[in-house]
Amino acid sequence: MKIVMAHGSGGNATRELIKDIFQKYLANDYLDKMEDAAALPVAHYPLAMTTDSFVVTPLEFPGGDIGKLAVCGTVNDLWMSGAEPQYLTAGFILEEGLDIDLLDRIVGSLSKTAREAGIKIVAGDTKVVQGNGGLYINTAGLGYRKTGRFFGSENIRQGDIVIINGNLGNHHACILSQRMEINNSIHSDCADLGPMVRGLIDNGIAIRVMRDITRGGLGTVLNEIAESGSHGIEIEETQIPVDPEVKSFCDILGLDPLYMANEGKFLCIIAPEHADMALDILHQHPLGVHAQIIGKVADNAKPLVTIKTRLGGKRIIDVLYGEGLPRIC
């Protein structure tokens, strides 16, 4: 069975689609009321709100799918600002021709991931557009800032330590491998970063800023922090963890793991005296076993990101220009 334009008409076909798939997986006290808006209780904490759109192809890939990605991407954005995710909305834009069984799996995956992440889906929407079997998801996420703090780049200061929780580039390499029909065992790192972040917050780690390392990769994220924080950042190539298979994949295609997208990696800049404790906390989590200190906030005020290379050279890490695409030769 395929999605047809009638599924977006608002009539009988729409109702059946909602009943057969969305209600099956997403039923809860908020959604079941089927009102135009969700009535939420008064929050006793400051709020953080985010939105994101997910347009990945293929829709399913080793290690995840667009549904899991939509939840993880949104909750991670909340966690990165120090907020505990509470509520999620999900708008689905379906292209005609989409396989309904595939939609069923994706909504099921989205629901399961949300449940595991402890976030409630309180509102949703479905539209059907002409197309070729694609699917896009737009989300909004709301979280409570229980610590009252908001992690921001302006907090960084000289001597702070930069930590990342694991190997770079797996998601990007996985998606490209799928599109290029290259057989390998690279899986996306798509994951909820909440448990690791909660561990850092609950143990009182002096977090200056956290960022998930998604599009643009580590190089771009570090530049954004350096510019907003008005400090240079120095990293060491030998400390940056990359899975050997991902490294080989990048070498062949001329891609740089520093600019590859991730969906389960974050960096945090913390006070230097908490470095060992933060590493211990991250290493205890399965998604943090490869956590590493990769550098520090420099003593210069120029917001340059530099890397000391494996051979002892030094170069500037700039933001990603254009798309991270394989080169010709």
């Binding site: 290029m180 001329g254 890397i307 494996r310 051979l311 170069r315 394989p326 080169r327 010709i328 030769c329």
Partner: protein, 349 residues
């Protein structure tokens, strides 16, 4: 040889100033990634040569690619790094935003699959590259003819490295030695540089792509020059044979023949292009008409002189002003392996 010793030697070099050209874009990329320029004595200058195929592709080629993408029932397939190369009026990326049918491919073989599945559409492949990539286009021709697929055309801007190297050696410049193009050497072999080394008395070192390989090559060339030698040293024997890859060379020869070609910023170099042999010309998308850039508007872009090592990128009046990676005016700023793009990133203040 001890790498630490080599690093110390090239860092402390204090003899006469020398310019070494790395011809291959992949070497340039590795030099950049490994921060090798920061490890060199100020008296050693590395010049990035014309070995980035994107950088030397003429604007007329981009124009023609765009023209194909605007025809009914036609799709242009290209590698991603061609998307932002400026044509006379616009780039493929800008044309795509205006509705041109341009798709990014990851391998030329995708074209055969697409064409077989959609016989009503003509798929034009933007074929750009040196000897390293040409066999993959030969493979497309072999597969499409074997499968009876005829709705593919090749728009070629394929280049031979040796005539360009000869051209560089023969022009007035200060390049004293060459790190031979590594990828191309795996196809052409190391012996092929002997004639140039002898004729122009310039040493060549064939190097691999790791940072260590390049450091060793630089040291080797310094030693050759110190001892007044101009030999070809194959420092990458695990991948480069003296006689090259004969099977790949035969593949190229089966489908392509050489002819004059226009190198952006340089001009026409005799015998430096590869074109489909007459037997396969029904699959050509007008590649022979691209021997000039007559329509190119006058511009202050000095990419040609950059490629030849005559000026540094920051000596171009457009560098980092009108020309940046976000809005490249010249091809050397477009590619991640282009000299201007690399300089821009290095010189960011």
């Amino acid at each position: 040889m001890d790498l630490e010793f080599i690093i110390k030697e090239i860092g402390m070099y204090d003899d006469q100033e020398i310019q070494i050209m790395e011809v291959c874009g992949t070497h340039t990329s590795s030099i950049f990634k490994n921060g090798i320029r920061s490890m060199l004595s100020p008296k050693i200058k590395l010049i990035s040569g014309p070995g980035c195929p994107v950088c030397v592709t003429p604007a007329a080629y981009i124009d023609q690619a765009i023209a194909w993408s605007l025809k009914p029932d036609t799709v242009l397939l290209t590698f991603g790094d061609m998307m932002k190369v400026p044509g006379t009026e616009k780039s493929l990326s800008e044309a795509k935003a205006e509705g041109a049918k341009v798709e990014i491919m990851y391998s030329p073989q995708e074209a055969v699959k697409k064409a077989a599945a959609d016989p009503q559409t003509t798929f034009v492949i933007a074929c750009v590259g040196f000897e390293t990539t040409i066999p993959s286009y030969a493979l497309v021709l072999e597969h499409m003819t074997q499968r009876g697929v005829s709705n593919i055309k090749l728009l070629t801007a394929l280049r031979r490295v040796m005539p360009a190297l000869d051209f560089i050696c023969s022009t007035d410049n200060a390049i004293a030695a060459f790190i031979a193009p590594g990828h191309v050497s795996t196809i052409l072999g190391s012996n092929i540089y002997s004639t140039l080394a002898e004729r122009y008395a310039k040493p060549f070192a064939v190097a691999g792509f790791e940072g260590e390989h390049i450091l060793i090559a630089i040291y080797d060339l310094l030693q050759q020059m110190k001892n007044n030698k101009a030999q070809v040293h194959n420092l990458y024997p695990s991948a480069v044979k003296p006689e090259g890859n004969q099977a790949a060379l035969k593949y190229i020869d089966d489908y392509f023949e050489s002819g004059p070609a226009f190198w952006r910023g340089i001009g026409v170099i005799a015998d430096s292009g590869y074109y489909l042999r007459p037997k396969y010309q029904q699959y050509d998308a007008g590649s022979f008409d691209l021997t000039g850039d007559a329509n190119q508007k006058p511009t202050a872009c000095r990419c040609g002189e950059v490629i030849l090592g005559k000026i540094n990128p920051d000596e171009c009046p457009m560098f980092a002003k009108a020309c940046t990676p976000a809005k490249a005016q010249g091809p050397c700023m477009v590619s991640s392996e282009g000299t201007c793009g690399i300089w821009y990133r290095f010189s960011k203040k």
